[in-house]
């Protein structure tokens, strides 16, 4: 049992499960025209920005056009990956039954293919959130972010390595979806890796062709600045998504869990909910920041209700926070600089061995 859970009785956990289920049911029943209009508007704005950005880059020999085009394209790519792609692929909009905005048909603007990402993210990360050794979320696979992860000498390089990861984040996600670590451990057949590599190759080729060949060629004399604009937009998007995602589970106060398979099988709905809340951290900020993070700034609410449309997280957050207060559970939230500062500090500290909390002093025997 995790110490943060010790004060809760099984009845408390059942009550928490029931309360959160009730909130979920209430919101799901309330979905309608307003929500559909919201996501269609976001998609429309995103397409408009992308179109305008690409058009401006066609004449990007003119420096202001380069700046405007690159900015618009970067914002479009962030919106596409975060508020649209990630959330659509979670099935948040499947209730509309619109095949154009559906988890089974969406392919996002990223080198990682939707199919592989949905498995590694929706299933493995969202089901086994923050369980050391089970949650294959990026951070835990590539970096040491928890004292319970055994230290290895290559972790010394992780402060530097993390910067590279941030710059090339979409490639990090794509490689992580290949599950090379699982294959090495014999938990995934190498034939599966080969077919995944082929899928990644096809998707990456399409992305590279679009961003670095087709559009620059169309730009004619502006080809070089257009290519640079695409590259810049991709890097800006990479750094931003890396930042948001690392603020989701790694700031101080997020709990990790040491569960084995039997404990997981016995886990009740209520304690699953509690694990999701304790393992996630929110980011405070204005509405436009929430939009640009794809509402992953409401990471706690997202992990409780991963298939609830993201535009509803803001209204559910106060209720979740109140519930945490009532049951004496932490609800971790902070500004972006604050949260990201903690993440960077953790990356630095965990690059060295140790880093666990000091063991409690032995109790005096009487």
């Amino acid at each position: 049992m995790n110490p943060a859970l010790e004060h809760l009785t099984p009845d408390d956990l059942d009550d928490i499960g029931r309360e959160l289920d009730a909130i979920r049911d209430e919101l799901m029943a309330d979905l309608g025209e307003r929500d559909a209009a919201y996501i269609r508007k976001v998609v429309k704005v995103q397409r408009g920005l992308e179109g305008a950005g690409r058009a401006a880059l066609l004449v990007s020999l003119f420096p202001p056009a380069w700046l405007a085009g690159t900015t618009a394209l970067a914002v479009a790519k962030v919106l596409e990956n975060m508020e649209i792609g990630h959330n659509v692929m979670h099935g948040q909009w499947d209730w509309m039954r619109d095949p154009e905005i559906h988890s089974t048909t969406w392919e996002w603007d990223s080198v990682s293919a939707a199919e592989g990402w949905k498995k590694s993210h929706n299933y493995e990360h969202h089901t086994y959130t923050n369980i050391v050794g089970k949650d294959r979320d990026l951070g835990y696979t590539l970096l040491r972010l928890d004292p319970d992860q055994p230290w290895k000498p290559f972790h010394l390089t992780q402060p530097l390595y993390n910067i590279v990861l941030a710059l090339a984040f979409e490639w990090g996600v794509a490689l992580y979806d290949l599950e090379l670590d699982e294959a090495r451990k014999g938990r995934k057949p190498w034939s599966g890796v080969v077919s995944d590599v082929k899928r990644l190759g096809r998707k990456a080729a399409r992305q590279i062709t679009k961003d670095y060949v087709a559009w620059p060629l169309l730009a004619g004399p502006s080809a070089a600045p257009a290519l640079l604009g695409s590259l810049t937009a991709n890097v800006v998007r990479n750094v931003w998504t890396h930042t948001v995602i690392f603020c989701g589970h790694f700031p101080d106060g997020a709990e990790t869990f040491d569960f084995d398979e039997t404990a997981l099988d016995d886990e009740s709905r209520g304690s699953w909910y509690v694990r999701q809340m304790l393992g996630s951290c929110n980011i405070d900020g204005p509405p436009v920041m929430h939009l640009m993070t794809g509402n992953l700034s409401y990471q706690i609410e997202h992990h409780l209700f991963p298939d609830l449309p993201s535009n509803r997280y803001a209204e559910v957050a106060p209720r979740v926070r109140a519930l945490c207060e009532r049951y004496g559970l932490p609800y971790v939230s902070g500004s972006l600089p604050n949260q990201y500062g903690q993440v960077l500090r953790k990356i630095l500290r965990m690059s060295l061995p140790g880093g666990g909390k000091p063991a409690p002093a032995p109790a005096l025997q009487t």
Binding site: M28, L31, G32, D35, A36, T104, K118, N122, Y123, W272
Partner: protein
Amino acid sequence: MPETRDSVTLWLRPSRGWPVHRPGQYVRLGVDIDGVRHWRSYSLTSVPRRRDGRIAVTVKRVAGGLVSEHLVGHARRGMVVRLGHPTGEFILPDPLEQPLLFVTAGSGVTPIMGMLRALAARPSGLPDAVHLHIAPSPEDSIFARDLRALQRAHPRYTLHEHHGDRDGRWGVAWLDRRVPDWPERHTWACGPAGLLDSLTDRFERTGMPERLHLERFRPVVAAASPGASGGRVRFRASGKEVDADATTPLLVAGEQAGVLLPHGCRMGICNSCIGRLRSGAVRDLRTGDVQHADDQMVRTCVSAAAGPIEIDL
């Protein structure tokens, strides 16, 4: 455009590339209501290849029918609906087999109206045809005016109108009394199941079942109440069938029968397990809601059978 007090004809302008339909076929209409897309099938009642490119479907309000009530009550000029491709095998053969008998009841007249309009537009006009149209009352008779106009213009077309409030319940013996040559006629019928069943029975007893062509609109499946039984589940990819009760997730029922199914979280969050429901209805084990097959995607890990179903997995 209203037809009767509870039916309307919708004129639609398909986008480019919509194929030419054949009279008698139907089309799937996708209508967004409260943000959710619902698909229903409606017979095409206009002639193919109109010069203005428009097509018509006629919708009758079904009591408690979400989509038909929405369309009859709220359809407006400029409204956008999704359109499937025309489908259906309820189409007149070419060359035409004559003489003809049409039997229609209620909104069952819609596919026949499409056929009649197309036949009437030919240079030779309507062929030798008897049409029995059944409706509860004259006010509820869809296309009554159009049918009477056809009768006036085409001498070989004979219309019989049967109104329940005046003539009582229609029985198949009527055919022997009023259309004695009916066994010679190639018969096209559309209406409620009871009517079609009695016609089938009559044609089989005469030894001419191939002369009868039927169009059955999908029966309205009553929503199963809590405590209801499950049903036989057919997994289309493997062809395996299994009996599942009303509380066992489809995923578990399938796995117990040895079907390989995609799965993930097994708690309704990750969408790894979804499959397209082809027929029947499933109950969401979390909410108790019953969803009917309109080719919608369901999560097998939290859905149980509510009657016999087919799923694309």
